[in-house]
C-alpha cells in the first residue's frame, strides 16, 4: 500500500477502507484501501483472478449476493458507510450503478422499459417525467439517436455495442453519483469499444466512474487514476500517467511492460 502516498485527492466520493473479502474459505481480497476522487475515471488493472472484479463488487455490496461470500471493512459513500449497521443494500445500489462485462438488457423488455424499470420500481409514477428521464439517460449513453424511433422494440434486438450502451443508460436512469463498470468493453468490437470509451470521458463530468479493465491501453486512454491489483492485493495506485510511465513497484513495471499476465 505504498502506492497511494503521493496522490493528491481533493474530494473523495467513494472511500474503501481495509476491505477483505472471501469466497467460502478463499481469501480473495486482502486489506485493500482505495479512495476514489469525484468526477474522475478510476481504472483497476491486473491479471485474471487478481481480485479486481471482486473488489468492484464489494463497492456496491453485490459480492455478498454470491453464496458463501463474505466482506469485511468499510466503504464510505460521501462519508456514509455502505456496510454500516441498518444500511439497506438495495438503497445503496440505487446510488452506485453497475455495468457488467456482458451486455445484459432484461429479456422480453422493450428498450424503453429496460431504462424505465429502475425508476418505476423506485416509485416514479409520473409518465411524462419517466419518458423525459428515459430520453435523457439514452442521450447520456449516446444511444438516443439510434433508438428513438424504436423504443418499443425488445432491448435484446439491438447489437452488442448498442445493448451495452442501453445497459449504461439503464444504470444512469436512477441517477447514481457513482458508476461501476466491470470490463464493459471486453465483449465488444473495436468500434463499439471506442464509443463506450468516448462516452466515459463525457460521463465523468456528472458521474464518478470506477472501471475494471483487462486492457492496459484502455486504462491509459480513459482513466485519471489507475490501481494495479495482484493476487488479491493492491500493489500500486497512482495517477494514470505516472503509473504507466514511472511505476514505483517492480511488479507493476513487470506487468505493464508485458513481462507477465
Amino acid at each position: 500500500m505504498s502506492g497511494t502516498r503521493d496522490i493528491v485527492i481533493t474530494q473523495t466520493i467513494l472511500d474503501a477502507k481495509n476491505i477483505n473479502a472471501w469466497f467460502g474459505s478463499v481469501h480473495a481480497i486482502r486489506d485493500i484501501s482505495l479512495p476514489v476522487e469525484k468526477n474522475t475515471v478510476t481504472a483497476m488493472i491486473g491479471p485474471s483472478g487478481c481480485g479486481k472484479s471482486t473488489f468492484l463488487r464489494c463497492l456496491n455490496r453485490l459480492h455478498e449476493e454470491v453464496a458463501g461470500a463474505r466482506v469485511e471493512g468499510q466503504v464510505l459513500l460521501s462519508g456514509e458507510d455502505i456496510y454500516g449497521p441498518g444500511t439497506d443494500p438495495v438503497a445503496i445500489r440505487r446510488k452506485i450503478g453497475m455495468v457488467f462485462q456482458k451486455p445484459n438488457p432484461f429479456p422480453s423488455m422493450s428498450i424503453f422499459n429496460n431504462v424505465a424499470v429502475g425508476l418505476r420500481l423506485a416509485g416514479m409514477g409520473n409518465k411524462a417525467l419517466l419518458a423525459e428521464t428515459v430520453e435523457k439517460s439514452l442521450k447520456q449513453a449516446a444511444l438516443w439517436n439510434e433508438v428513438k424511433d424504436k423504443l418499443k422494440a425488445p432491448g435484446t434486438s439491438l447489437s452488442g455495442g448498442q445493448q451495452q450502451r442501453l445497459c449504461v443508460a439503464r444504470a444512469l436512469a436512477v441517477n447514481p453519483p457513482v458508476l461501476l463498470m466491470d470490463e464493459p468493453t471486453s465483449a465488444l468490437d473495436p468500434i463499439s469499444t471506442a464509443k463506450i470509451e468516448e462516452l466515459l470521458i463525457e460521463l465523468k463530468k456528472e458521474v464518478t466512474v470506477v472501471i475494471v479493465t483487462h486492457n492496459m491501453q484502455q486504462a491509459a486512454r480513459i482513466s485519471d487514476r489507475t490501481a494495479f491489483f495482484l493476487l488479491g492485493e493492491l500493489i500500486e495506485y497512482d495517477d494514470t500517467s505516472r503509473l504507466f510511465t514511472n511505476p514505483r513497484d517492480k511488479r507493476t513495471e513487470d506487468y505493464i511492460t508485458g513481462r507477465f499476465g
Binding site: 449476493e65 438495495v90 453497475m98 457488467f100 456482458k102 429479456p107 423488455m109 436512477v174
Partner: protein, 268 residues
Amino acid sequence: MVGLLIGCAILALFPLFSVFLYVCQQGLPGLHVNFFTSLPKPVGEVGGGMANAVLGSLILITLASLIGIPVGIATGVYLSEYGKTKLSMILRFCTELLAGVPSIIIGIFAYSLFVIPMGRFSSYAGGAALAVIMIPTVARTTEELLKLVPVHIREAGLALGISRWKVTLIIVLRGSLSGIMTGVMLGLARVTGETAPLLFTALGSQYWPRSLDQPIASLPVQIYTYAISPFEEWHQQAWTGALVLVLFVFILNLTTRMILKRHAPAKD
C-alpha cells in the same frame, strides 16, 4: 445400424398414427354439432351428445388450473431461486416422486381428503385431484426455465437497486413467461385425458353441471362409461368423445409448440 434405428423410430410412431387413424375412422361419423350442444339421450333414442361432459371437462380443468398453476409456478420459483437449501432438495425430490405416482392413487387421495369429509362426489374433489397431477409438470418446467436465465441478468437487477423478490418476479419470471406457459399447457394436456382420478372424485353425471359441490360429467369418464356399456349407439358416442379428446390434446400441444418456437429464448 441406421436402418435399425429408423425401423425403431417407425415402430415407435406406428401406435400414434394407428390410434389416431382408428379413432378418426370410428369417431368421425358421430361428430355433429349436436355432440357439443345436447345432453346424452336415454338408451334407444337416436342422437344426443356429450355437451355436459365437454363443459364438465372445461370446468374441471379450470378448477385444476386455479390451484395447480399458482402452486406449481411458486414451487418452481422456490426451487430455482432459493434452491440450495436442504428443504428445497427434499422438495425437488418429492416433486419428482409426485410426478411418478399413479394417477389412481392421487384419485384415492382426493377421495379421502374431499369426498369423504364432504359426504359426496364433487367438481372440487375432481379439480383438486387433477391439480395435484399438474403441479409437478408446472413446477419442473418453471424451475428449468428460470435456471436458463443467466445469473448476470439477476445481478443486473440487483445492481439497479431492485430487491431480490422483485427481481425474481418482474425480471426473471416475466422474462420466462412464454416458456412457463408451455409447461402449463403441457400440464393441462396431461390432465385433460386423466380418467382414473375422476372416477371416484367427480364421478360423472348425465346432466348439465349445476353446482361445484355436485358430481360432474367429464369427457374421459363419459367415454369410459359409454365404452363399457352394452349399447351400440353409446359405443359410437364414446368413439366420437375419444376423437374430440384426442383432437383437443393435439391442438393444445401444437399451439404450445408454436408459441415456444416463436418466443424461443435468445441464446445468451
